[in-house]
């Protein structure tokens, strides 16, 4: 029982990482209709920036929290610039496939450039959270022990999701962003600068990726250019499971994937090394039964 609870909590930690990268994918998909294959590598690049700023031996030795903040700000600007300079001109050529190729190119390019600049050796990311473990509760001698790292990660990513939800649902800016996502032409006729909103959407997605990447890297004993590769697959899976246009769906689906993965690792020995089949199999079944995902809207529009 104690092991089970610990694994579920670890699964929640990983699941929130998948969920927040999925969130970034969904934000871009909803505002620009683009599947951003480069999301993971944008996060990787930002993670290296965080590392460079924070590392005592190879970098500037900034406090890690400040380093993450600066990296998120840089990522925000870079994401907005990518939308304006690379995505929009290609989108205006009116072939959705062209944009897919651009994001695939970004995926490969960013990964290579990151390794060119920062090297291929594994690097150590300082953690913003205190070391050690916390005993949550004990039942009959078996204490449930979780690392402070994991608890911190969960707290930060939950806070991020709540803030994002408040921004989108409770502010004027959020209303403009959702208006552009729902009907860009009509939004422009209401005086909303659609182009600016698209840049903001990409900027937000990139900043979310920077936070997720930096936190994940700080949990590892070392990270390299492959940091985001499994995460982006799980994030795409979570986005599909959540329905691709639902922000809540992305987070919930991320949690489902994370927990399923953690429990498989713990309890299903024959699948050792190929645990990934369980969450992906689960998603396949859900999508066969519910083609729009768990939270995707079944389009009921009347004309």
């Amino acid at each position: 029982m104690q092991l089970f609870v610990e694994q579920v909590i670890n699964g929640i930690g990983n699941g929130l990482v998948y969920g927040s990268v999925a969130l970034a994918l969904v934000i871009i998909f909803r505002t620009t209709g683009v599947l951003n294959f480069a999301q993971g590598e944008m996060a990787l690049f930002s993670t290296y920036i965080t590392w460079k700023l924070a590392s005592e031996s190879d970098g500037f030795g900034l406090p890690i929290v400040a380093a993450i903040g600066v990296s998120m700000a840089v990522a925000f600007v870079a994401g907005a610039v990518i939308e304006r300079v690379l995505i929009r001109p290609v989108e205006q050529a009116r072939s959705p496939l062209n944009v897919v190729i651009v994001t695939l190119g970004l995926f490969l390019g960013l990964n290579s450039v990151a390794q060119l600049i920062f090297g291929t050796d594994p690097q150590l990311m300082p953690s913003p959270f205190p070391e050690g473990n916390v005993e949550l509760f004990s039942s009959g001698g078996d204490a449930v022990v979780v690392s402070k790292d994991t608890i911190g990660l969960i707290a930060v990513l939950v806070a991020e999701c709540v803030l994002l939800w408040l921004l989108l649902q409770r502010t004027k800016l959020g209303l403009k962003l959702r208006a552009v996502a729902a009907n860009p032409d009509s939004a422009r006729l209401h005086g909303i600068r659609a182009g600016t909103m698209l840049m903001l959407g990409w900027g937000m997605a990139a900043a979310i990726g920077a936070l997720a990447g930096s936190l994940v890297a700080s949990q590892r004993t070392g990270f390299d250019g492959s940091l985001m590769q499994i995460i982006i697959v799980y994030a795409f899976a979570a986005a599909a499971l959540g329905g691709f246009d639902s922000l809540i769906g992305a987070v919930v689906a991320g949690l489902i994937v994370g927990i399923a993965d953690a429990l498989t690792v713990q309890y299903v020995d024959p699948l050792e090394g190929i645990e990934v089949v369980v969450p992906l199999g689960l998603i396949l079944v859900v999508l066969i039964v519910l083609p729009n995902g768990l939270f995707g809207r079944r389009t009921v529009e009347r004309v």
Partner: protein
């Protein structure tokens, strides 16, 4: 001086020219009606005013040249354009749709304006928390009108509001449009196929043919002119 004036406006889509020479004017407080067959250039005329297509000539709104400005900029000057298809934000609620109408206003009266338009369109009030896309075509057209009015525009552009609506609903819609003009002093430029209803609430009418103004005149006189009706309006 007219609130809106188009002089020698030409334009179209890429190499295809739809508007050849459009001259029209909308007086403040009036309803101007643009009639014409499919493909005559009615929708394109509205799109040229809103900056949605490239055009040449002069489009003067309130003494200012607005030709060449972006749709966002034109909207901010006080022109509300309800496009064909009604521009509904389908996955947002009715109330959020109305708030989008007021999104560029910074005065504190948005709340009271909401209540005002809810009282004009009670069916929207009943459905304020419902997804806008789930409403009927007629309700979405009312929503589009109310959303446009939330911007407190000086000029309302309406593109075939009767399209896809049942005759009874169309009648109700035009009654409400007439109200907007009489009771709220709204200046309207409406493009319609339903000449009968539109001319009933209009002050001045234009008949478009192949990208040019073929006939224009007082709405009442156009309505009663046998020759015009036979040649252009088909009723």
């Amino acid at each position: 001086m007219s609130l809106l004036e188009l002089a020698n406006v030409q334009g179209g889509y890429g190499p295809v020219r739809v508007l050849h020479d459009i001259d029209l004017a909308v007086e403040e407080g009036h309803v101007a009606v643009v009639l014409g067959a499919n493909g005559a250039g009615k929708t394109t005329t509205l799109r040229a005013i809103s900056g949605l297509i490239h055009a040449q000539g002069d489009i003067i709104f309130d003494g200012r040249q607005i030709l060449g400005r972006s749709p966002e900029a034109v909207a901010r000057l006080g022109i509300a354009h309800v496009p064909q298809g009604r521009g509904t934000f389908t996955e947002l609620t009715v109330e959020e749709n109305l708030r989008i109408g007021a999104v560029n206003r910074s005065d504190g009266d948005v709340r009271s304006d909401l209540e005002r338009w809810y009282s004009v369109f009670p069916r929207l009030a009943d459905r304020r928390n419902q997804e806008a896309g789930s409403m009927s075509g007629g309700e979405q057209q009312m929503l589009a009108l109310a959303r446009a009015m939330m911007a407190r525009p000086r000029l309302l552009l309406l593109d075939e509001p009767s399209l896809g609506l049942a005759p009874l609903v169309t009648r109700e819609l035009f009654a409400q449009l007439g109200d907007l003009n009489r009771n709220h002093g709204m200046t309207v430029l409406v493009v319609e196929q339903n000449a009968n209803l539109a001319l009933d609430i209009g002050n001045w009418g234009y008949v478009l043919e192949a990208g040019r103004i073929a006939v224009q005149g007082d709405a009442r006189q156009l309505h009663d002119d046998e020759a015009v009706r036979k040649a252009y309006l088909g009723f």
